[in-house]
Amino acid sequence: MDKQEKRNLIARRVASEFKDGDVVNLGIGMPTLVANFLDSNKQVILQSENGFLGVGPAPEPGQEDPDVVNAGGQPVTILTGGACFDSATSFGIIRGGHVDATVLGTLEVDEEGNLANWMVPGKLVPGMGGAMDLVVGAKKVIIATEHCTKKGEPKILKKCRLPLTATKEVDLIVTELAVIEVTLSGLLLREVAEHSSLEEVQEKTEAELIIPEEVGVLK
């Protein structure tokens, strides 16, 4: 499974979490891919925190509108029925619980649902942008991430070591190996990829996983 296949697997699985009518904010990077896998039978409305609802696909080359970009600065379109607003309104929507789900990548996530995805002290300090508000405000926080770092180390930890983005806000973790739900008792393994195994998932996860009687198949 190459990198792109992993990313597509994760994105497809995340997309299946949404219900008809959901308002969803997709973070920069892999989460943006989720848009490619939305079920056309459901209306999912995408919010872009730089100020609009109704994010549509990238325009045809040459049709880019410099004023229509997503929060990552990439050219997109605004679908029929969309609406534009200022940044206070945008984060009123986010913080006020009007976003049903947000999908974010992460550096670390832990068994309490804490996440750290905005800085590595002394190395990488891009700033939190809208991430802290999104994680606190969205009804459901979905982490879409490769299971391990590039070096092969676990990203799903007992306790985050990097500076947190927010405490106890993560609801679901989707990786190329597993789907893991954050519960009050810990991390509950929901699904394991068909190319993987319970053993591999636990081995690559620092936190101890709760294994229910039935574990689904991620494919």
């Binding site: 004023d67 229509v68 600065g73 200022d86 206070a88 939190m128 942008g129 809208g130 802290m132 927010a166």
Partner: protein, 221 residues
């Protein structure tokens, strides 16, 4: 009737050491002609309040590269490596603020509030140095108002009375900053006669605006 300034005249309103708000999100909805003039005028030691520092060669990123900033209050600097370098070299002080909190702080500054209570950042390093206020059992951080000496903004259209409308994602922080600075200068694509905008479509009322500057669309001839 608002006076229309050249970009240079607008830049000359900004003095060394001032606090300056600049509209825009990753250089979309930034007053590019005014920024270029500010760089040319070499105004320095500014405190910049802005969503992000753009790119090294776009938006306020040009001011970062030209060493005009003493401090930046900002939510994101990741698209402009120069900001991070200067931060690490202690050439620029960078205060990172969650984007929604930054928006509310500017809104509070413009609307006479003493602050707002936000749940964002509780339990993170953002909490350091902030007052924590508990309401009905939940902790919130007190976000205090932000104001500036000058706001440099970008709108799509203005009428002669200074009423503004914005376009798509270029709206972002512009309407908020229009309320929160002593002097508000707005670069616009098009200046219309008063009466061309329906009162219901105005986003920023003209009373917030001091000067207009013609943007690139009109003035490239």
């Amino acid at each position: 009737m608002k006076d229309v300034l050249t970009p240079t005249q607008a830049a000359q309103k900004v003095k060394d050491g001032m606090a300056v708000m600049v509209g825009g999100f990753m250089a979309v909805g930034s007053p590019n002609r005014v920024i270029d003039a500010l760089v040319e005028e070499k105004v320095k030691e500014l405190t910049l309040i802005v969503n992000d520092t753009g790119f090294p060669d776009q938006g306020v990123g040009k001011m970062v590269a030209a060493d005009q900033l003493q401090k930046v209050i900002v939510s994101h600097i990741g698209t402009n490596k120069i900001t991070g370098e200067k931060m690490n070299n202690k050439e620029i002080e960078v205060e990172l603020v969650p984007q929604g909190t930054l928006a509310e702080q500017i809104r509070a500054g413009g609307s006479g509030l003493g602050g707002v209570l936000t749940p964002t950042g509780v339990g993170t390093v953002v909490q350091e140095g902030k007052r924590v206020i508990n309401v009905d059992g939940q902790d919130f951080l007190l976000a205090t108002p932000l104001r500036a000496d000058v706001a440099l903004l970008k709108a799509h259209k203005a009428d002669r009375a200074g009423n503004l409308v914005f376009r798509r994602a270029a709206r972002n922080f512009n309407p908020l900053m229009a309320t929160a600075a002593e002097l508000v200068i707005v670069e616009v694509d098009e200046i219309l006669e008063t009466g061309s905008l329906d009162p219901d479509e105005v986003v920023t009322p003209g009373i917030f605006v001091d000067y207009l500057v013609r943007g690139e669309v009109q003035d490239n001839g």
